[in-house]
């Protein structure tokens, strides 16, 4: 066997994490991107900056604040305790929440660009054809921004797969719960299991390359305006 069971478990966990985060971000990031693309409010700038922050912030810093917020004394932690969910750090769902923040810009920014390039006109046309704003969003804006949705989803998924710092801060290293592939590699190296580290790293390398190749070569062409 090329990979052992715990490696496979880590990969499966990683894929599950990235998939769920991508789905959540499609729902959360789309309205944010739509608003950022069309709003003229003055606080659009600050909101855009907050969304982009994970791009420059060390993951450990983000993870540290999330750990505090979700911990027993943090606002989120008190809320989840009061709701009977318990504390989120060192759980899979804690990781999901951390990753949602961490990958937010990778969903929002391509979508924002896509919505901006759709422009105002197709929505105005839809309005003159009796479509309500929500109707026009789903039947005109989304189909026209479809390439943007693909790019954003691929980037979000791939970026979540590559996450390490945030996971260590709020997820720790629990096999089958929070031990994702990147952490597993770290463990292998710590334990001087270089062969295992090599194999898993190679899988990640190939995965990243294939994803980027897909983005650059088989890039969906935006529908040409008419």
């Amino acid at each position: 066997m090329f990979l052992n069971d715990s490696d496979l478990q880590a990969i499966w966990l990683t894929v599950r994490l990235a998939g769920i985060v991508t789905l959540i971000l499609l729902m959360v990031g789309t309205p944010i991107a739509w608003w950022l693309a069309r709003s003229k409010a003055w606080w659009k700038g600050p909101v855009g900056a907050v969304v982009a922050m994970p791009l420059v912030l060390p993951p450990s810093v983000l993870g540290f604040y999330l750990l505090l917020a979700m911990g027993p004394n943090g606002p989120v932690g008190q809320l989840t305790t009061a709701l009977g969910i318990g504390l989120l750090p060192f759980t899979f769902w804690g990781l999901v929440i951390g990753s949602v923040f961490y990958s937010l810009p990778f969903m929002v920014q391509p979508l924002q660009t896509a919505f901006e390039s759709v422009g105002e006109r197709p929505l105005e046309v839809a309005a003159t054809l009796r479509a309500s704003p929500l109707d026009a969003f789903f039947t005109v804006a989304v189909p026209l921004a479809l390439p943007g949705f693909l790019t954003a989803s691929i980037l979000t998924f791939a970026h979540t797969v590559g996450e390490f710092g945030v996971v260590l801060m709020i997820g720790g290293n629990i096999p089958g719960v929070t031990r994702v592939a990147s952490v597993q590699i770290y463990d292998h190296v710590e334990a001087l299991e270089y062969l295992q580290a090599h194999r898993l790293s190679a899988v990640m390398l190939v995965f990243s390359f294939v994803v980027l190749l897909a983005l650059y070569v088989w890039r969906p062409q935006p529908v040409r305006g008419a």
Partner: protein, 368 residues
């Protein structure tokens, strides 16, 4: 109350719109002016794509906007665009690129409330027929020429059986050849529709061909408004038309001369020989006579190549855009005519209002 009553006040940095218009319930009204005069903004306000902070708009008695009679909550009445029964043709055809031509045509129809599928199909069919786009239905918009796209977008607007059709320079983005391809369809539309059409244009020839009524806009204000013939014949028209100064007369084909390929068209007060455009006797036509093609004589002239010579009365005189030129308005019966001549010949002929003269018309354009 029929027709369209539109009052809008809007202040933007560097541009203000301030109009109070009462437009007829049927026929084509041209919103005419140079770029930046506010004609597109006015059209967008009527469509609800732009909201003038102070405005009142009624179309055939239905109130679409009213900021003058505030409601209980202090806000005015405002009907969003998608609830206004209008059709809008944009300058660029703006077809949805992800749908086929048929998909584009059906987009609005599917959203019409309370319309039987059968009658929707009939309306769609009529629109497809009127604009001659049946062979294009399965194509995607990027496989169409500019003119075809614009025809599809007109059909898309018409299929909804709008109570008001708004067109924002639908020909401006097309080259001359495509324009000629579309104009006949627009004329057909003009004759077939019994709803008001507002047609934004900065091209005098389009206005002459298509409009019945005209609103001249300048710097956000309506500086002249009225029936096309009388408004174009105004000497104090506050907009410089230059070489395009002239009148448009509605006429009827009265006689056809097969030997010379000419047709005699009758307008109130006289008749003219024009090139035969293939219309049958009794067909309504429109002729356009530019001021520069009209010359004046005190006696009927013989031995001239000019075919059209009419008796007329000088009504009013004014200066023109160059100090050497004068602009004259004459009446042939009840119909107005404009003539451009030099100040020297005007003085030499002792032309004064009321004087009877002969006009020679060098060229008459049969339009539509």
């Amino acid at each position: 109350m029929g027709g369209i009553q539109a009052r809008f006040k809007l202040d933007w940095p560097g541009f203000a719109l301030d109009v109070d218009l009462d437009l007829p319930a049927r026929g084509v009204t041209a919103l005419f002016g140079h770029s930046g005069s506010g004609k597109t903004t006015l059209l967008r306000c009527i469509a609800g794509l732009e909201r003038a902070p102070r405005g009142r708009l009624t179309v055939n008695g239905a109130v679409w906007q009213d900021d003058e009679h505030k409601g209980r909550h202090g806000g005015g009445h405002w009907l969003p665009t998608h609830q206004r029964p209008l059709g809008y043709v944009f300058q660029e055809a703006s077809l949805f690129p992800h749908l086929t031509v048929l998909g584009n045509l059906r987009y609005g129809l599917k959203r019409l409330a309370g319309v039987q599928p059968n009658s929707a199909n009939t309306d769609l069919d009529a629109a497809i027929q009127l604009l001659g786009i049946r062979p294009l239905l399965e194509r995607k918009p990027d496989r169409l020429s500019g003119g075809e796209r614009q025809r599809v977008s007109m059909a898309r607007a018409l299929a909804l059986r709008p109570r008001l059709l708004l067109m924002d320079e639908p020909l401006a983005a097309l080259d001359v050849k495509r324009k000629q391809e579309i104009l006949p369809y627009l004329e057909r539309l003009h004759r077939a529709l019994d709803i008001p059409v507002l047609y934004v244009s900065h091209a005098p020839d389009e206005v002459a061909r298509l409009a019945d009524h005209i609103v001249v806009l300048e710097a956000g204000r309506a500086v002249a408004t009225g029936p096309l013939t009388e408004t174009l014949a105004r000497l104090d028209l506050p907009i410089q038309l230059g070489e395009d100064v002239g009148v448009v007369l509605d006429a009827v084909v009265a006689e056809r001369d097969a030997q010379w390929h000419l047709a005699r068209v009758e307008f109130p007060g006289g008749s003219l020989w024009v090139r035969d455009g293939g219309q049958a006797i009794g067909d309504p036509v429109r002729v356009r006579i530019l001021a520069r093609d009209v010359s004046i004589a005190l006696q009927p002239v013989s031995g001239t190549s000019i075919q059209n010579c009419l008796s007329a009365t000088v009504e009013q005189m004014a200066g023109d855009h160059h100090p050497a030129l004068a602009l004259l308005r004459l009446r042939v019966g009840p119909s107005p005519l404009l003539a451009r001549l030099t100040q020297r010949s005007s003085t030499g002929l002792c032309l004064v209002p009321g004087k009877a003269v002969w006009v020679q018309i060098k060229a008459v354009a049969l339009i539509g």
